[in-house]
């Protein structure tokens, strides 16, 4: 796929940081407001897809390889299952929310519905792990499919 016109590229470049920040906000506040790792991840991935469409998949391919994407995806998945494994060690059971109500960095449970950004225990961390996974995973799918159809056009 070739890139689109300069106007589209410029607009995409301008909107990409905004979309990314919005997505990261959704991920970070997943336990307080509507949203979470999946939703925010999908938003960031759509921003990346916008860049891929505007600049063309070959341009993206010269910047980042699918190989590295799957590395990051594995890391996200490992962070997620790692948090679950830590539950066995610190919380006594797989998937235990062992960080909640431990004071210090993660604070105590609020009384009366005023949880804050740090009180969710493992929830925000899991949100970030899943967010990373979803960003990279969805983008990898889009990229691989774009490249595949693009090669097809070349050969025929």
């Amino acid at each position: 796929m070739k890139g689109m016109s300069t106007i589209v590229k410029t607009i995409a470049n301008i909107s990409f940081p905004i979309i990314t920040i919005y997505g990261l906000y959704i991920i970070a506040h997943g336990h307080l407001t509507p949203g979470g790792g999946f939703q925010g991840g999908a938003i960031v991935a759509s921003g990346l897809a916008l860049i891929a469409v505007a600049h063309g998949s070959s341009w993206i391919e010269s910047k980042i390889k699918e190989h590295d994407l799957s590395l990051f995806e594995s890391l996200g998945a490992l962070a997620f299952i790692g948090l679950a494994f830590f539950g066995i060690i610190f919380g006594g059971v797989f998937f235990s929310n062992f960080l909640v109500d431990t004071s210090m960095l993660f604070g105590n449970i609020p009384v009366g519905g005023a949880a804050d950004i740090n009180t969710g225990g493992t929830l925000p961390l899991m949100n970030f792990a899943v967010g990373l996974k979803v960003i990279v995973g969805l983008f990898a799918i889009v990229l691989v499919m774009a490249l595949a159809t693009h090669k097809k056009e070349d050969s025929s």
């Binding site: 799957s70 594995s74 490992l78 299952i81 679950a84 066995i88 006594g92 797989f94 998937f95 929310n97």
Partner: protein, 530 residues
Amino acid sequence: MNIIDMLLAHAPALIIAIPLLGAFLTPLISRVSDKGRNIFAIIILGITALFVFYLASDVLANGPITYVFGSTAETVQSSTVIRILFEIDALSIFMAIIGIILAFVAVLYSYAFMEKNTGLDKYYTLLLLMTTGMLGMMLTGDMFNFFVFLEITSIASAALVAFWTNKSKAVEAGFKYIVISTVGALFVLFAIALLYGQYDALNMAKIAQNLGLSGFTFLDKIALVLLIAALAMKGGLAPMHMWLPDAYGRAPASISLLLVGATQASLYGLFRIVFTVYGDVISLPTVSIGWILVLLGIITMLIGVVMAIIQTEFKRLIAYSAVAELGYMALAIGTGLTIVANADPTITLQTAPFAMKAIIGGLFHVINDALDVGLLFLVAGAVYYATKETSLNRLGGLARNMKYTTVFFIIGLLAVSGLPPFNGFASKLLIYESTYQLNPILSIVAILSSILLLAIFVKVLHAVFLGPALPKFESVREVPKSMLVAMAIIAGIIIIFGLFPNLVVSNLIEPAANALVNNNSYLQWLTGGI
């Protein structure tokens, strides 16, 4: 010591978590070394197998165990079950043993069999994920969790069926499989939603309890029909078996082996839903799905055998015989249910003569089918590996160069057609005896299909392994050792099961059959309060 005790205490979670961790690590490890990745996958499944066997000894000795995810607090909070839990009784661990044996053999076999292909890091990742999904389906005690694992299994297996993307038939088989699976899974999800909407519960035991209390509403019936239809479709029972020969026949042989396990996981889901979740309402004499299962079983059996006769491709022929074997299981389980429904209402599954025998035979046949058909698939894969040829018409005279493979094929053929002293005989005898009590015609049909299977496979033996040596196969060599070891493991288990069927039945199958027909033990922790 301490850490080992701690790990063993978390065995139910680790059986899922270890292959999952292995799958997530595989892409990283294959950056370092290809050989290391293959061995890593074998080790991961080996460790998982150890945990499964430990858990099996625990469950068989001490009865069902539950494992709650995410909290050490009380399982039953404010008279309901909030969290996801695994409930492992004799039936689930019996299925998990089948699953892990198949997965371990498949990964061992892949070592040499898949060597020359590209994309192996993803292949091993998906193989581990498929194993995870399969084991998850077998161990979970939560309806929605079952659906999630069902989808993991479907996606991984559909992709693996289409592994050889340069063959158009393989891609089509994969597409067919994923469409059927997805529609089936959506039916399952819809049924789960129907049950959830009524009882506000997702735990199988809790739903079973609620069903027992509230009776059998119309919505429950719709949910039951949807669940049976979807899971029978995924389990490859006629008339929705069309995807099965395609998927089994076009996949790499190691994946065909694992697909047998995935199919049986769906059948396990069917049994679990019918007997445990709906156990309290379905044993009412007015509702007999027994006859439906019997009919489905007979039709499946006949279609499988008849279609197997006309196949000219090695793996498709085995796939149709696998369809026929599935029919035996449905027939046996259906017979058990029907005998009870026909008897006077005071008789339950445990007390009805021959009903228990039918169910034991059916469950015993589940593991025998997995082993027999699996061994035949591996032999077909070995023949393909050595000759790059799948058509029965172009093969011949391989026994001279592939002695061990021929022996394994003969073991498989005798076992699958139910001849003594192999395991197929032990379970089929139980099925014949009990179906004879229901209706002699049924057992005659069952015996006839077995004889036909024998005839078909003797023909294959002659076409592939015996006969004059063909000049183009002169340079054919025996397959590598790792493939032979994989086949030898299954053949060994087949022979052991054939020689000591009573030992297997009394130690493994009978507890599983009891767990199947008696859902009180499954619900015990809910009312007893742990």
